[in-house]
């Protein structure tokens, strides 16, 4: 067995003061436990990413909310029961600095 990473969101831009459209990621049915890593790659001092779970990509329930900056740039979120879909919505609360962010899903394969 080994660890594998899925990178569903790779350096996606979030304009200053903007909220991106939600990004829906379909999860592999064989997954059980994962760790989601979210990284703020740019200069935003206030990047909020809402992670939601969904059974069908439409119905949503909040799973976790994280707010990153330039000192706290990376967060890990353990998820013990993997949903059918994960939905990521990024909001850049910094009205001066655009940024990019990535999401890495680490799983044991």
């Amino acid at each position: 067995m080994s660890f594998q990473n899925i990178i569903p969101i790779n350096a996606v831009a979030v304009d200053a003061g903007a909220t991106n459209d939600p990004v829906s990621v379909k999860m592999d049915a064989s997954l059980n436990e994962i760790i989601i890593y979210i990284k703020n790659l740019g200069a935003s001092t206030n990047l909020t990413v809402l992670v939601e779970s969904s059974p069908d990509g439409t119905i949503k329930a909040p799973l976790q909310t994280v707010t990153l900056g330039t000192t706290t740039t990376t967060v890990s979120i353990p998820v013990s029961v993997v949903p059918a879909f994960l939905i990521f919505t990024a909001t850049n609360g910094d009205s001066s600095n655009a940024t990019t962010y990535s999401v890495i899903i680490s799983k044991r394969a």
Binding site: T48, P62, L63, T65, T67, L68, I77, T91, G93
Partner: protein, 213 residues
């Protein structure tokens, strides 16, 4: 019980007996009351009490204080860090205790004019300091359950609307405003408010669980 990072969104605290004692390292305990005058030492207006110093001791809150909680959760965090722990109750707690004690930390030896002492070989000259923290939280669930969750928030002291409630536990609501700056109002003159989930606030995040918890 040592706190570990729980799985999202939160995990049930499993324990035996009528209470659970949690090892913590926090500075600010929040019991949301919705009113700056109710439980001023514990309410969400934490920035109005930022100058207060924790005193060593064991403190007990009973129904006399806890009755003013308007939300079924409490939060504990260190403003200097970036992690906020929250605890959800299925039944409003009637008792809660916390212990404040000193934690040893190492700090640089610094003169009054800000110069940091170093040794002759260039290493930092560290001294042991004591800092008071909430080191233990004893929760009594009563007839209900307790869940533990944790969020990361980059700046736990940020207060973008200057209402003395830090953004991480604020309950933002926005007026619906047209392009020319006029606010929508209803037929009886009230503002048409909406809230957004994507602001990182633990209050907004947990509101969606209000029907479940």
């Amino acid at each position: 019980m040592k706190l570990k990072q729980p799985a999202a969104p939160f995990e049930r605290l499993e324990f035996h007996g009528d209470s659970v004692s949690l090892d913590t390292e926090g500075k600010v305990l929040v019991l949301p009351t919705g009113n700056p005058h109710l439980l001023p030492v514990f309410n969400e207006y934490t920035l109005s009490r930022s100058g207060e110093v924790l005193e060593i001791g064991t403190y007990t809150l009973t129904d006399a204080e806890l009755q003013y909680m308007i939300k079924p959760w409490i939060a504990l965090y260190d403003p200097a860090k970036t992690v906020l722990n929250f605890f959800l109750f299925t039944h409003k707690p009637k008792k809660l205790q916390y212990v404040v004690s000193d934690i040893v930390s190492h700090v640089n030896f610094q003169t009054a004019d800000g110069e940091i002492f170093t040794t002759s070989d260039g290493n930092d000259f560290l001294v042991m300091g004591l800092d008071a923290y909430i080191t233990s939280l004893i929760l009594y669930p009563g007839n209900g359950l307790i869940y533990h969750g944790q969020i990361t928030y980059n700046d736990l002291t940020l207060d973008s609307n200057s209402d003395l409630i830090p953004d991480c536990i604020n309950n933002f609501s926005y007026n619906f405003v047209t392009h020319d700056g006029n606010a929508f109002t209803t037929s009886d003159g009230a503002y048409f408010d909406f809230q957004t989930l994507v602001n990182g606030s633990i209050t907004t995040f947990l509101q969606s669980y209000g029907m479940v918890i």
